[in-house]
Symmetry: C2
Subunit: 314 residues, 2 copies
């Protein structure tokens, strides 16, 4: 049996795991990296955690995979920005740093690309040769498997599906574009829209309606709250528009939905499925599958390890 | 030297050519198929033309490639619709028909996919591993080369880029969607918009402003006609929105523009280039190339032969 390490770098912590070749987590650990300003210190802390995991499990690993927010140049291994929650990453060679520490093959990629790799070889993606994964959370990330292989683009930046412009006169996005997909169907977008509707009606928002608590809006919608349902339907309509265009462009057979918002399940997917034909050339929608991604809580670690396994074999 | 046949099935005629392995046309012929209602009769006529070409040139071919409008299922060889100008095609096995007549490998694909294959191995696409071709004409077609290979999707229907929805409240398309890309930037869309603007001003349209004469609108724009310039800028803005989303999704390095409207050259491409940053995540636009496709008049024949060459080698 071969083993791989997966490191999932998030906004406040890093999750580190040792995974076997079937995608099973042998051991895992979480390391707090909040407020650390120097990438080298973070890398040291993560390395120590991984080393102790390897001692505990007595496993030798073949390679290390790392998932981070933002852009990693696959030609150079450099982080090139797009990680607002981890502002110390850009300008660092993520791959080089860990290679030096472990003398092993190291691969790094965007977290949504890692999640796609995980679904591809260990999850629901095993059933499909051509699919996309959309991760719906604070933003909208994405990844592509085409012709049975992970596709990452010329320098590894493919999958910025959250920044498809669905309406050139739509709301301004923090990327500078207008009407980006994630301005409609991400968690904060849904919360913002719900808050605006309540305010217009002079209703105080629930105390626990924080920017990242889209789950509350989804719960309200499930309970039949008309305003919350309207928010969910609007988000679903934009999901249908984006996924419809992706089907027209790529003739994919499936779209998997991951990320925190995917926990809404059919509450979100059912309206998307009914609106999808509005945006797809009829022959392309035949047999199309829209479903929830299968790796949930540990998608980050498993996906990072999947990148390592796939890269080592190719 | 190896040789291939390329057959380009158009609305009123079929163009047939013998092409060498470097993409050079050795001989070509045009066969009128107007008003023929039976695909078998058309196939007979084309076969006779190809056979006489092969006798004339004294060349043996390795394989035959066929490009047609609409959808060809790559798993079955069947034409599955989407060819309004050639209504006799759907329901026929395009591949099987010619295989029976020639006892040679036969491959068939959508005409825009063929054009993409042509650019990929014989044209401007040779410089890129990840690019799209957009053919701007009566409709908008497209094709993709990803990771250095032609990508056609699960059953061969990829590249319906003209039916990306750029505005869910936009004009109704004949595919049933709203706000499809080709409702803004195709030839007929430009002509329609120019006509509407003239009518609003009680100006009679030029006599030669037929539905398919977008070139006239482009000429007027080049001469400084403000209304025509407005039409061209609107089409360019939608081109920028569509191409921008494609860059975000696929991290492609180039987009080639083909089809009749591409003859407008920089008149169209210059505004697209300046509007593109409105729709792209900044790190993804670095080094991006937007240029006119290099195979012009014979793109159809050469592209069909390219499909044959690529398919035989894979």
């Amino acid at each position: 049996m071969n083993y791989y390490a997966g490191i999932d770098l998030g906004g406040s912590s890093a999750k580190i795991g040792v995974i076997d070749e079937n995608g099973k987590i042998i051991a895992k650990k979480k390391t707090d990296i909040d407020r650390m300003r120097d990438f080298h210190l973070i890398a040291d802390k993560i390395s120590d955690s991984l080393k102790s995991l390897l001692v505990d499990t007595a496993k030798e690993i073949k390679a290390i995979g790392i998932g981070t927010p933002g852009f990693i140049n696959k030609q150079t291994g450099m982080h090139e920005g797009g990680s607002a929650n981890l502002p110390m990453l850009p300008g660092n060679n993520i791959v080089g740093e860990f290679k030096d520490k472990f003398r092993l093959p190291v691969y790094a990629d965007n977290d949504a690309t890692c999640a796609t790799a995980g679904e591809h070889i260990f999850g629901a993606g095993r059933n499909f040769t051509d699919f996309i994964l959309l991760t719906l959370g604070t933003g909208i990330g994405g990844g592509l498997v085409l012709d049975g292989k992970l596709y990452t683009g010329k320098i590894g930046f493919a999958g910025e599906i959250g920044h498809m412009s669905l309406d050139p006169d739509g709301p301004l996005c923090n990327c500078g574009n207008r009407g980006c997909f994630e301005q409609y169907s991400s968690g904060p977008a849904m919360v913002k829209s719900y808050r605006e509707k309540l305010k217009k009606r002079n209703v105080a928002p629930p105390d626990d309606l924080a920017e990242n608590n889209a789950r509350l809006v989804l719960e309200k919608a499930a309970q039949g709250d008309s305003l919350a349902m309207d928010v969910v339907f609007t988000a679903a309509g934009k999901l249908a528009q984006a996924i419809g265009s992706l089907i027209n462009i790529l003739n994919i057979e499936a779209c998997l939905i991951g990320g925190g918002i995917s926990r809404a399940g059919d509450l979100l997917l059912k309206p998307v499925r009914s609106m999808l034909p509005d945006f797809v050339w009829p022959p392309l929608i035949k047999n199309f599958v829209l479903q929830i991604a299968s790796l949930q809580n540990d998608a980050g670690i498993i996906g990072a390890a999947a990148i390592a396994k796939i890269s080592l074999q190719s």
